[in-house]
Symmetry: C2
Subunit: 217 residues, 2 copies
Amino acid sequence: MKQQIPEACIERLSLYVRELGQWQRRGCGFVSSRRLAEPLGLTDAQVRRDLSYFGQFGTSGRGYEVRRLLSTLSDILGIQGRVWRVALAGVGNLGSALLAYRGFQNRGFVFKVVVDADSQKVGRVIQGLTIAPSRQLEELVRRHRIHIGIITVPSEAAQAVCDQFIRGGVKAIVNFAPARLEAPSGVRLRNVDLALELEALAFYLGRGKALTDGLQK
Amino acid sequence: MKQQIPEACIERLSLYVRELGQWQRRGCGFVSSRRLAEPLGLTDAQVRRDLSYFGQFGTSGRGYEVRRLLSTLSDILGIQGRVWRVALAGVGNLGSALLAYRGFQNRGFVFKVVVDADSQKVGRVIQGLTIAPSRQLEELVRRHRIHIGIITVPSEAAQAVCDQFIRGGVKAIVNFAPARLEAPSGVRLRNVDLALELEALAFYLGRGKALTDGLQK
DNA sequence: CACTGTGAATGCATTCACAGCG
DNA sequence: CGCTGTGAATGCATTCACAGTG
């Protein structure tokens, strides 16, 4: 009964929610899998398959009721009537950017705790939150019952911060440091590596040249 | 002869380069696929398969020569003795963070052009670059022969910026706006969606509850 | 003997194609 | 008739397993 849902499908769920928002604002009552898929660059079959993992929401011949599907998917993603408490470690450029990013607040992600190792920064107020010293992270995380931890510290410090999150009871972590982190299996860990994005592109840009330049042996 | 290399493999290439850097600093001459794989959370078979797409670099019984493999992979990725000229559109929080990020400079990615639509920001200097008005993007991109474009503008403006990049001759774009962009097939487009990362985590955090709460029908 | 390089097997995700429904 | 929901087919990526090599 409990089938496995593809990881990629979960990410598309967020896309569906955004796209459905558009259709709702346009005042459409129903939308077909094809119309939902097209602007997202997907196929109609993919949309139907994805949705089918969660139940049967469509009506034959008509499509999906926009309002209902939007509300159901938001619910599944936990971004409806739900607040996720987030803690951020590392108030550098990237950390500050994430704190200021409106996209999170809108979706029910609320920063509750911010720490930094730099005593110069501790005590400063940013986005309405006072920066606490790193050493208090574990306790703050526990006290605020943080759901999600975000790591934007230098690579060397990333594992230590990660461990504090875990000891504090966090079950989901996003790591922006370019380092492989260890976490027990009960903790969901996602890595976002910005330099890696550019490097992958560089590969394709340089491909023709590099591969023919005697690399094959 | 020209076999297809998995997308995921390209991304792991960057990881191998980083890890090999560690081994080199530690003064190791050779490293086996197993030792290379382990700290990255991969299997030895995966490492061997990935490398085999590009040639035969190993020695039976010994492993891979660290220095040579590092140099070869860096070359394949185009991060050795190569400079990639980058343009950034949108100097908000995220844009500023990317400009300041050292990880890019180190790998041969150099920002040459920065634009913003806000006339308040135009003329300001950031990380040694003067912010130009958005309307000049296409021309600047062409004049500086930009390789990679980065989009950190609001969703509404993203497609317009993307079009300017493309008309200016850019062949690789990273888009941070949560919007699906259109680009011709010759242009490599990558999307990085930060809110989506958190939402995917929220799904797993909330799963147990949401799925049993009458969503199955 | 320790290790690579790679066919063959497996496991996932996407796409096809169509029966069934409103 | 238009569209969903889903078995079956396909296409990719990963893993297995082992012959081959220094």
